[in-house]
């Protein structure tokens, strides 16, 4: 029974794939490929070494854009959250920039950085910066006052206060924000690669379509994007499980 419950999601996927395959087989001449030809496309890509190369290219851009955004946005967000006056001064600008889709930046990214990695990294950076900034600001606002008072009571220096109260107190919320933002980064990289570079999973998808309607490769690329996105999410979730990170303000 336990085994069956574990296998249930896999069985469900297998059933869906079977329906998909049967549907395609019943209507020959469809451009949309069935799962078997998608698997064939995936093997093709693997054999030519393209799949690994493109996955690495996409992850490389995400890593840079996401890390740069985190390094800049989190300390600024924590500082703004702490010094409310700074936040009040900057808030209108942030509220205007925030709803602009990172994709709207594509022309400007190409104007500034040309076609290439920098443009893609910049787009990911823009897509991650504002969500992370707001997460960090809100995380500071949500620190229960007792932790701040307790920290003051034990006579901590400002540096100690940041390291021993502020930082551990915001970690759970920051991790959630980082996980969601990494998801955004993974969405943005695909779009960025469709326009501003000639490698990566996003490029694979447009290229496979443009260069001969290879829809098996298009779907193979989509599947890879899904699988890697899931793995990234699992990675971030495993960080959230670390015991000293895992507390939340409702729990205690």
């Amino acid at each position: 029974m336990k085994l069956f419950e574990r296998l249930r999601p896999a069985l469900f996927i297998a059933v869906l794939l079977a329906i998909w395959e049967i549907g395609i087989d019943l209507h020959p001449g469809q451009i949309l490929p069935g799962p078997i030809s998608v698997a064939g496309g995936m093997i093709d890509l693997l054999r030519h070494g393209i799949l690994l190369k493109y996955v690495v290219a996409s992850l490389f851009r995400v890593t840079w854009g996401f890390s740069l955004a985190a390094i800049l946005a989190i300390p600024s967000g924590l500082a703004l959250g702490w010094y409310r006056r700074g936040e009040m001064a900057l808030n209108p600008i942030m509220q205007i920039f925030r709803p602009i889709s990172p994709l709207a930046w594509i022309p400007i990214a190409i104007l500034w950085f040309g076609v290439g990695d920098f443009a893609a990294i910049f787009l990911i950076f823009v897509g991650c910066f504002f969500p992370l900034l707001l997460t960090a600001m809100n995380a500071v606002h949500n620190i229960p006052a007792v932790y701040i008072d307790a920290g003051r009571n034990f006579g901590l220096s400002p540096g100690e206060f940041v390291a021993r109260i502020l930082y551990p107190a915001v970690i759970p919320q920051l991790l959630v924000g980082l996980r969601i933002t990494l998801g955004i980064a993974w969405l943005v990289v695909v779009a960025a690669e469709m326009i501003s570079v000639n490698s990566g999973l996003g490029f694979l998808i447009v290229d496979a379509r443009n260069a001969g309607n290879r829809y098996d490769l298009v779907v193979a690329g989509m599947v890879m994007i899904g699988v890697i996105g899931l793995l990234l999410d699992l990675l971030m979730r495993s960080l959230e499980q670390v015991k000293s990170f895992r507390w939340s303000s409702t729990e205690v």
Binding site: N153, E160, P168, A169, W247, E251, V252
Partner: protein, 266 residues
């Protein structure tokens, strides 16, 4: 098994040995929507070294405000608070405030919490103190447990241990047992008295529980409703351990109930 008071080593409140904390003409006014709201008015209080004081009063009267002002977290609008004849200007590790809820750091284990204020001590001394206070508050076996796995009473004991570990002169406790169930609360009172008798600190304890005040305090300070003034200071002249059905206990409790304006019957 009934025991007579004489069989148990008791502690009669010591004669006050010098003033530890002195509140003079303390006034506190909050600004609410541009309107001045007086909370505390002309509070005068001398607390002796090693004394156990309970602050009681109707809910919302400003007991916690007074405690926070004495602990240095709030600066008074007028008047002053002095500890050892030195004016209080802010919070200080020599006097620790224990909060009603969520006062322990959830990202640290029991040991980490108790050792929080000890980072400047040499390692061996820090570990010795942690071990001592783990024992004092009876959390042996939970050294590496995180607060989310502790009960409410254990968390409050942990908070008291963290406070005691830095060797403060004064403990301020803001309704520390207010969020606990009534059985745990009674047990915690016994524990606190035991710790107070062995550790000898000055304690200021805010409570809204009349029995708690009569069971714990050397003197009970009754505050009036807002703006709060000191309405009466009642000396509880019963030795510990206190028999809570003795005539004197009931008499003092009734006196306190009367002071707060509550009838004897529900």
């Amino acid at each position: 098994m009934p025991q007579t008071e004489a069989e148990i080593p008791g502690r009669v409140p010591d004669p006050i040995q010098g003033t530890k904390l002195r509140v003079q003409h303390l006034g506190m006014t909050y600004d609410r929507d541009g309107q001045a709201m007086p909370v505390l008015e002309d509070i005068n209080l001398d607390v002796g070294d090693g004394e156990f004081i309970c602050l009681v009063g109707p809910s919302g009267c400003g007991k916690s405000t007074l405690l926070n002002a004495m602990a240095g977290f709030l600066s008074p609008t007028s008047g002053s608070v002095a500890i050892d004849a030195e004016t209080v200007k802010g919070p200080d590790p020599r006097r620790i405030l224990v909060f009603q809820e969520r006062g322990v750091f959830p990202w640290l284990t029991v040991e980490g919490n108790i050792g929080f204020g000890l980072s400047k001590l040499p390692r061996a001394e820090r570990e010795r103190r942690i071990a001592h206070y783990v024992k004092t508050v009876r959390l042996e076996g939970f050294e590496n447990t995180y607060p989310s796995d502790l009960s409410g009473g254990m968390k409050q004991r942990l908070q008291v241990a963290r406070a005691l570990a830095v060797n403060p002169d004064i403990l301020f406790l803001d309704e520390p047992f207010g969020a606990l169930d009534s059985i745990t609360r009674v047990i915690m009172r016994g524990e606190l008295l035991r710790i107070w008798q062995t550790e000898r600190r000055t304690i200021l304890f805010v409570t809204h529980d009349i029995d708690e005040a009569v069971q714990l305090a050397d003197r009970v300070v009754v505050l009036s409703s807002r703006p709060a003034r000191i309405q009466q200071i009642l000396t509880i002249d019963i030795a510990h351990p206190r028999n809570i059905s003795s005539p004197r206990y009931l008499e003092l409790r009734d006196e306190l109930l009367k002071q707060i304006g509550l009838a004897y019957e529900i």
